[in-house]
């Protein structure tokens, strides 16, 4: 998957530049909210519960200030990515114990037509590897700046 393909999936209405939550459950709630507001999910509770249960398998806080909560659920009919930025950072049980500041929530139906779930997950992780780009994404004040950052500045 190319970065442009990932960028095409991102939507301005699913971008939260100033997250307020201070705990893991609150972060999941805040990240799912734009999906509800945008009419992308039928049941907010179902998505949050599936995401929470996924966290029991191992935290999706991948370290270096990044978390990628994700799950497949029938509660959505298409793949969606919600991007959230927390300036203060939130303890997300990350591997390196550092607070997470950059969140990519990925939800997809059990059978997504183009089978994008795993390629998207892989591309998101790849895109945050570079420290400079990661910092630019965290500092992005708006959706346009974030897109510029994720595409390599």
């Amino acid at each position: 998957m190319k970065i442009n393909e990932l960028v095409r999936i991102l939507k301005p209405e699913l971008f939260i530049p100033g997250m307020q939550s201070g705990t893991k459950p609150a972060v999941l709630d805040e990240l799912v909210q734009p999906l509800v507001t945008g009419g992308f999910v039928r049941s907010k509770g179902l998505v949050i519960e599936t995401l929470s249960k996924r966290e029991t398998l191992g935290s999706t806080g991948i370290g270096k200030g990044v978390a990628v909560p994700h799950c497949r659920t029938l509660a959505v009919s298409d793949l969606h990515i919600v991007v959230g930025i927390s300036k203060k950072g939130v303890d997300f049980d990350a591997l390196d114990k550092k607070p997470a500041q950059l969140f990519f929530l990925i939800v997809a139906p059990p059978l997504d037509g183009n089978n994008l779930y795993l390629p998207v997950l892989g591309k998101v992780v790849e895109s945050v590897r570079d420290s400079k780009l990661r910092q630019a994404m965290i500092a992005a004040p708006d959706f346009g700046s974030f897109l510029k950052a994720i595409q390599g500045g």
Partner: protein, 112 residues
């Protein structure tokens, strides 16, 4: 949390598929993933809130289909692509009822 029956069953299937995916991943990667037992326990807890009759339906369908619960889009079952009867329309459906496809028997879930 109060939740209608179909949502509980959808959650049950989502976790069921998640467990199967991790089992496949374990087989491929050659090491055990933590938390599978917790996930299985969570599934059992959800199962306690589903009537045994519907759990049996789920298990029976599971012997035939990988996903016993399928979404409905534009009045079409996305398991077998059969058009559903008009009586399954939004006005005719009740919250605590489980609807199945007349063609393939899969349990139906209206996402939108």
């Amino acid at each position: 949390m109060t939740r209608n029956l179909i949502e509980l069953m959808v959650l049950y299937q989502d976790l069921d598929l998640m467990l199967k995916e991790t089992a496949e991943a374990e087989a491929t990667m050659g090491f055990e993933m933590e938390g599978r037992e917790k996930l299985r326990k969570a599934m059992d807890d959800i199962a306690k809130n589903i009537s045994p009759r519907f759990l049996r339906t789920y298990q029976r369908l599971h012997t035939r289909f990988k996903r016993p619960i399928v979404p409905v889009q534009n009045d079409v079952c996305l398991g077998c692509f059969a058009k559903l009867p008009t009586s399954y329309g939004e006005k005719g459906r009740k919250d605590q009822m489980i609807y199945t496809c007349e063609q393939c028997g899969r349990i139906l879930y209206w996402v939108e």
